[in-house]
Amino acid sequence: MTFFHFGNCVALAYVPYVIVYKCSGLAEYSAFWKCVQAGGAYLFTQLCKMLLLATFFPSTETATGGLDITGEFLKSTVDIADLVGLHIVMSKFAGKGQLKFMIAGMGWATAELIVTRFLPLWMGARGVEFDWKYIQMSFDSNISLIHHISVAMLVWLYSRSDLQKSSLPIVVTLLGLACYRPLIVEILMQAVGLGSWMLLLAKAGFTSVVALISLQMYLSIPSQGSNSYY
C-alpha cells in the first residue's frame, strides 16, 4: 500500500500514547525522562527474559500448527519477570505516589510499541499488498497501552501495605491473568477459532475489564481518595 496507509497505521498506533501522555498530567510533571528510563528498564528486562528463555527453556520442536500448551505456559511464566521489572522501576526510578505507575506503564508500553511494532509496520504497511493486519496491529498497540498501565497499577497495588486484605487475592488473580494473557489468547484462538477482528475485540474487552477492576481497587485505597493523577 501507499505511504499514506503507513501514515494511517502509525497515527492509529502512536497518537493515543501522545494523548494519554498529555492528558494524564505526565507532561506537566515533566516525566518524560522518567518514561525513557522506564523504557530502558523494559529493554533490560526483555534481555534478561531472553537469556532466561534461551538457557532454561530449550525450544520444543513441535509440529507447527499444534498448540504446545506446556511450552507456552512456561514461556508465560517467564513473563513474571515483567512484573518484577515494573516493580523495580517503580521503586527505584519513578517519581512520587500515584504518578509512579503511570510513568512505569507509559514508559513500558511505549518501549514495547517502538521495539515490536514499528519495524513490522514500516516493512509491512508499505508493501504492495493490502492487509487488515496492520490496522489490527495498531489497534492492538492501543489495547496494550491500557494493559500495561493497568498491570503497573496492579503491581503498585500489590506492593502497598494499606491495601484492603480482602482485595489482595483479586489483585494476585488479575496479575496472573495479565501475565498469562498471551497463553489465554492462544488457547482462545485455537479452541474457539476466533477471527482476527473478534480476537481483537475480545482482547479489548478483557483488558478494559481488568483495567476497570484495578482502577476501582486503586480508588478504594483510602489515601488515594484525595489526590488522583488528575
Partner: protein, 561 residues
C-alpha cells in the same frame, strides 16, 4: 561548533511545525522500502505465442505486466489488465479491448479443456487462430482456473460496478469498499533467441543390394506442436501421433531389414523434422542440405515421400496430394495398397484422397509434403483431417484425451501393411497379413509414448536441440535405425526466416490492493477514533468520579479535580 548549528536547525523546525513536516515527509517517502516480496498469491501464467516468421511478427510482443486488474466489461481499461474467462472473450471483444487501450489481457481457461462443450471448443479454436493473426503489443496471458483466481475474478467483477454506478457518491463508496488487485509479472522480459537451433533427426535402413542404386522411400513427421500459448501446446495428435507412428514403422521395418530373407530392395529414410508448425523449416532445410550434398545423396532416387501428420483419432485416413499420382506410379500404388488393406482388414477405416494444389503465392505451405513436391519429388501427407485448414492442428485443445492409442496402433498396422506390399511387391498375395505375432504393433508401447508426449508442452520454441524430448527421440531412432544423425538449423543472422522469443511461462503475483479513496476513508475513520480517544482522556475524571462513587461514599472532605 557543529553542535550549536544543530541546535539552530532544530530551532528552525521548532518554529514552524508544518514546514518541518513538509521537510521530513519526502525524506521518509524516499527511504521507505517498497517490498513486493511478500505476495499473498502467485500462480503460473502462460504467455501467448510470440515469434517472427518470414519477416512478419505474430503474437504479442510485450511480456511485463504491473497493473491493476479490471473486468473486461468495465469502461475504464486504460493502463489496466483485463481479466476474463474464456467464455467472455470473443474476437470483437478483443478488438474492443484494444481500442480501449487495455494494457494487457489475462484469460482464465477452465481446469479441464476437454469438458468444454463443442461450441466452446470451436470458439476457443477460432479465437486461437484470430488472436495469432492480430498483431499487437499487448501482453496476453493464459492461466488455468483455480479457486483463488475465481475469487479474483469475482472481486474484479464487483469492482466493475463502481464504474457503472448511477451517482458519484455511490461510485465513490463502491470504489472505497472494492477489493482491487495488482497483477505483477516478475521475471525478465521476452528476448529474441537469435541462436535458437531447431533439430532434425534422421535415420535410415539400407536396402538389399548396392545402396546407391536402390530407390528410396522417405517417411517423415514433424514433432513440434502449436497452440495459442507455447507452454500449453501439447500437440498429442498433431503431431505426437505422427511421431509415434513413424517410430513404430521404424521398429517394424528394422526387424524386417535385419533378416536377410526379408531385406527389401528399397532404402528407407526416416526423418523427424523440427519447426513443422513454422512453415516446415526443418524439412525445408533438410531438403536443401541433402540436395546440395554431392555424395551419398539420399534424395537422388526417391520413390516417394510419406509425411505423417495428425493420425491419432477418428476412422478417416486421407492422403493429401498436391498432384494426383498416376495409377502406376509408386504413389498411386501405395494409395491402392492403403485402400486394399483397409478393405481387407480394417473395414471401419474410410480412406480418401484429397487434392490441393500448391499455392506458391501463399506464405504458408499447407502440408509438409508440399516442401518435397516443390522439389519435384512424389510426396503426400497422411492425416485423418480432411483439410489443411482444420484448426485441430494448431490448438491447445490437442491433448491426450483427444487421441486414442488403439487408433494409432491400427493406423500403424495399416500403413505398415501397405508399405510392405509396396516394398515387397505383394500385390498378388491376396489378403495376406504380414505384421502379426512378433511383428505386430504393440498398443501398450503406443500408450506409453502417448503418455510421454502428453506430459510436456512441445512448442517449437521450447524444444531446443538438446532438450530431453529430442534426446529421447534420437535414442529411439538410434535403437532401430542406422546412421542416425541430428542436425540443427539456425536462422540466418541477417535475414532470419524465424525468430523465437523467450518467456513462455511466467509467475504472476496478485497483490490485494485498495484504491486511494479507501486510504482517505480510513484516515477519516482513524481521525474520528482518535478524537473519541482524546475526548475520553480529557473527560476521564467523569469516569473516575463515577467509579469513586461506587467504591466509597463521597465524604465532604474529599475533593475531586
Amino acid at each position: 561548533m557543529w553542535f550549536d548549528e544543530m541546535g539552530e536547525i532544530f530551532e528552525m523546525f521548532k518554529g514552524s511545525f508544518p514546514l518541518s513536516f513538509l521537510f521530513f515527509v519526502p525524506i521518509l517517502i524516499i527511504i521507505s522500502p517498497v517490498s513486493p516480496v511478500n505476495a499473498a498469491q502467485e500462480f503460473g501464467v502462460y504467455r501467448m505465442q510470440h515469434y517472427d516468421l518470414q519477416g512478419t511478427s505474430y503474437g504479442s510482443k510485450n511480456s511485463i505486466i504491473n497493473m491493476e486488474a479490471r473486468s473486461v466489461n468495465s469502461k475504464m481499461l486504460t493502463r489496466r489488465c483485463a481479466v476474463a474467462k474464456l467464455q467472455d472473450v470473443t474476437m470483437p471483444k478483443y478488438r474492443d479491448l484494444m481500442t480501449q487501450n487495455a494494457a494487457s489481457l489475462l484469460i482464465i481457461l477452465p481446469k479441464n479443456l476437454n469438458n468444454l462443450s463443442l461450441d466452446e471448443k470451436q470458439l476457443l479454436q477460432s479465437l486461437e487462430q484470430e488472436l495469432l493473426q492480430e498483431p499487437s503489443s499487448v501482453p496476453v496471458y493464459f492461466t488455468t482456473e483455480s479457486e483463488y483466481l475465481d475469487d479474483i475474478y469475482l472481486d474484479v467483477q464487483e469492482g466493475n460496478s463502481g464504474d457503472n454506478a448511477p451517482t458519484a457518491w455511490e461510485a465513490l463508496l463502491s470504489s472505497a469498499s472494492a477489493n482491487g488487485f495488482q497483477l505483477v509479472i516478475s521475471g525478465s522480459p521476452a528476448e529474441a533467441l537469435p541462436d535458437f537451433e531447431i533439430a532434425n533427426i534422421q535415420g535410415r535402413l539400407s536396402g538389399y543390394g548396392i545402396e546407391e542404386q536402390l530407390p528410396t522411400i522417405v517417411i517423415t513427421a514433424h514433432y513440434d506442436a502449436m497452440g495459442i500459448a507455447p507452454a500449453l501446446s501439447y500437440g498429442v495428435d498433431s503431431n505426437g501421433s505422427g511421431v509415434i507412428l513413424l517410430l513404430e514403422l521404424a521398429r517394424l521395418f528394422s526387424k524386417l531389414f535385419t533378416n536377410s530373407r526379408t531385406h527389401a530392395k528399397y532404402n528407407l529414410v526416416f526423418l523427424l523434422s523440427g519447426g513443422g508448425k513454422f512453415n516446415y523449416q526443418g524439412s525445408k532445410k533438410w531438403i536443401e542440405d541433402n540436395f546440395e550434398a554431392a555424395e551419398g545423396n539420399i534424395l537422388s532416387d526417391v520413390a516417394f515421400v510419406l509425411c505423417l501428420d495428425t493420425v491419432g483419432a477418428t476412422n478417416n485416413l486421407n492422403l493429401h496430394v498436391s498432384k494426383p499420382p498416376k495409377e502406376d506410379s509408386p504413389g498411386g500404388q501405395l494409395y491402392q495398397h492403403i485402400e486394399d488393406v483397409a478393405k481387407e482388414h480394417f473395414p471401419e477405416v474410410k480412406v480418401g484422397m484429397v487434392h490441393k494444389k500448391i499455392n506458391l503465392a501463399d506464405e504458408m505451405l499447407a502440408w509438409e509434403h508440399e516442401r518435397f513436391s516443390i522439389k519435384r519429388m512424389l510426396a503426400f501427407t497422411l492425416s485423418h483431417l480432411d483439410t489443411h485448414k482444420s484448426p485441430d492442428r494448431t490448438t491447445i485443445l490437442d491433448t491426450r484425451e483427444k487421441v486414442s492409442a488403439a487408433v494409432i496402433s491400427r493406423n500403424a498396422q495399416h500403413i505398415a501393411e501397405a508399405l510392405a506390399r509396396q516394398i515387397y511387391n505383394l500385390t498378388s498375395q491376396g489378403s495376406f497379413q504380414m505384421f502379426t505375432d512378433t511383428l505386430s504393433v504393440e498398443e501398450s508401447v503406443v500408450t506409453a509414448w502417448l503418455d510421454y508426449f502428453a506430459s510436456e508442452p512441445k512448442a517449437a520454441q521450447l524444444l531446443k536441440a538438446d532438450s530431453e524430448l529430442i534426446m529421447t527421440l534420437e535414442q529411439m531412432m538410434a535403437r532401430y535405425l542406422k546412421d542416425v544423425r541430428k542436425t540443427s538449423i539456425k536462422a540466418d543472422k541477417r535475414d532470419p526466416e524465424f525468430v523465437f522469443y523467450t518467456g513462455a511461462d511466467y509467475v504472476m503475483n496478485a497483490y490485494n490492493v485498495k484504491p486511494a479513496v479507501f486510504d482517505l476513508f480510513l484516515a477519516l475513520c482513524i481521525a474520528g477514533y482518535l478524537a473519541l480517544a482524546y475526548l475520553c482522556a480529557q473527560n476521564f475524571h467523569i469516569i473516575y468520579y463515577a467509579l469513586k462513587l461506587t467504591v466509597i461514599p463521597v465524604s465532604p472532605k474529599s475533593k475531586v479535580n
